[in-house]
Amino acid sequence: MKRRYGRTVEIALFILPFAAFWILFRLGPVLYGFFISLYRWDPLGDAKFIGARNYLNLARDPRFWNALVNTLEFAAMAIPLIVGIGLVLALFIFAGRKRRVTTWLEAGFFFPYLLTVSVVGLIWRWLLDPDFGIVLLTLRDMGIDPPVFLNEPRWALPAIALATAWWLAGYRMLLFRAALEDIPDEFYEAARIDGASSPRVFFSIVLPLLRPAILFALVLTTISGFIVFGQVLIMTAGGPGRASEVLAMYLYRFGFEYLEMGQAAAVGTVLFLIILGLTMVSFRWLGYESSL
């Protein structure tokens, strides 16, 4: 009996350091954030309980809907771009894996992932500068009349999505490459003996076996899509007008520029629910088959 008690204490002590940080700075804030979202917070320190008013204010604010639509648009462009490019790059790297040079190619594709978001934002702002950006100059040299990406409402978000794909695709590439290596050779050999064409092999064998990896990449990328902030802040600051103002930026501005902390916290809760919902949908859609 005593021994058993001692064992429980020991297990608790092993977990406690982690659990303490997790409760205080991860779980705690989610609940605290919901609590804050039910109040109107005065910058001078007074708080008044107003129930769901912050949420109603959000629902009535066209600017919130604009930010929500922009976020969805960004996600709809960025997620397929990031996951798709990641998959294509992984297939390239996997195909050429017997050559030494491919390890360097892989390094090249992966490196942008190690950059901090402000570097990514600054580089692409410079690349896409309306007057001297190398991208626009090159396109003009080729006889194309390109839109002034970051200054045009229709093009700002796609341009940011492209920059984000450049930044994040490399990590998905590693993920898919690892999954490709896990597919046993026998599968391909069997398919070969049966005379399957390569598109057939890809769609009937490779893609289904990549499902867990694709699910993981999709969940991961969905989250990054919905919390996009730094790139937007640096490349367009939400502009032109509010054409690229996304939810995280709305949250930041309401919280720290207009000091409407309660309303900003409500946006945080909304973001949390969106991410939770989408994750559950993608689990259902792609099957719950990871080792979670």
């Binding site: 092993f14 605290y32 901090t116």
Partner: protein, 281 residues
């Protein structure tokens, strides 16, 4: 071992050489923005805006580097980043190792349920929590200090997830033998498990360090005085004052990237292996 061959089947038609050549061209295009950042940082002001643009600086200059170093506490930002990322990494390894051990090598009631609860929080990004974290840090009088930045990054479930995956695959006979010899859990963890799990530890260190080194949104809110900025926040401040001075901006960005690039060139293999492990599921 002959590994086959999905794309290679296509490749056989295309010619493998052609495929690699195409991938190489794509890779060059992929790193071109980084090269462009480095060259812009050492171009003279008129050359930056010269038409047609020049890829190789005609008269390289360190003027912009000088501006970044003298008008901005750039070295202090670097130091802050090292302190924040280093502390985050060390502390998250310290708390994750025993927890992962309890979740993998010990048997107890409710273990898997509790683990699942921790794990599901992996999906909560730091970003949705910035308002409550701001209130919390304000109450703890920690705003604008290092702990405000690193505390929320320590309890990240990726740590126990990654280590647990690794610990589970270590044969149970090893600690059974140690237990027969009278070793307690702590000694088993220290003398048996830890030495065997170096790759997983390396992966966790690489993951946490890059994560903390690059963190942006929360740091921007938690840190208010330029002396306390980390590199990502500092670079943004650079932009605020020099909206159009791409020379200074690119010099600053390049200086922030240089250490990462150097490390990556030296430790390329282990960084890619480490990151791949965090991706393995």
């Amino acid at each position: 071992m002959a590994r086959l061959r999905v794309v290679p089947v296509t490749a056989a038609k295309l010619g493998p050489r052609l495929l690699v050549a195409f991938a190489a061209a794509l890779a060059l295009l992929w790193v071109a923005p980084i090269a462009w950042m480095f060259t812009t940082g050492i171009k003279s002001a008129p050359e930056i805006f010269a038409l047609p643009p020049t890829w190789i600086p005609q008269r390289p200059t360190l003027d912009h580097v000088h501006v970044v170093l003298t008008r901005w506490p750039f070295l202090r930002w670097t130091l802050n980043s090292v302190v924040v990322a280093g502390t985050t990494t060390v502390l998250s390894v310290l708390v994750s190792v025993p927890a992962a051990y309890a979740f993998s090598r010990l048997r107890w009631r409710g273990r898997d349920a509790i683990f699942l609860v921790f794990l599901s929080s992996m999906l909560i990004p730091l970003e949705v929590n910035v308002i409550p974290l701001y209130f919390l840090m304000n109450r703890l009088h920690l705003l604008n200090t290092y702990p405000a930045v690193f505390l929320p990054m320590i309890g990240m479930p990726i740590g126990i997830f990654l280590l647990r995956q690794f610990y589970i695959n270590i044969p149970g006979e090893l600690d059974d033998a140690a237990r027969v010899d009278g070793c307690g859990n702590l000694r088993i963890l220290w003398h048996v498990i830890l030495p065997l799990s170096r790759p997983a530890l390396a992966a966790l260190v690489i993951y946490m360090f890059t994560f903390a080194w690059n963190e942006f949104f929360w740091s921007m809110i938690a840190l208010s005085s330029p002396q306390m900025f980390t590199l990502p926040i500092g670079l943004r401040a650079l932009q605020g004052a020099y909206d159009i001075d791409y020379g200074v901006l690119m010099a600053g960005a390049a200086m922030a990237v240089l250490p990462t690039l150097m490390l990556f060139l030296f430790l390329r293999g282990s960084i890619i292996r480490g990151i791949t492990m965090t991706a393995h599921k």
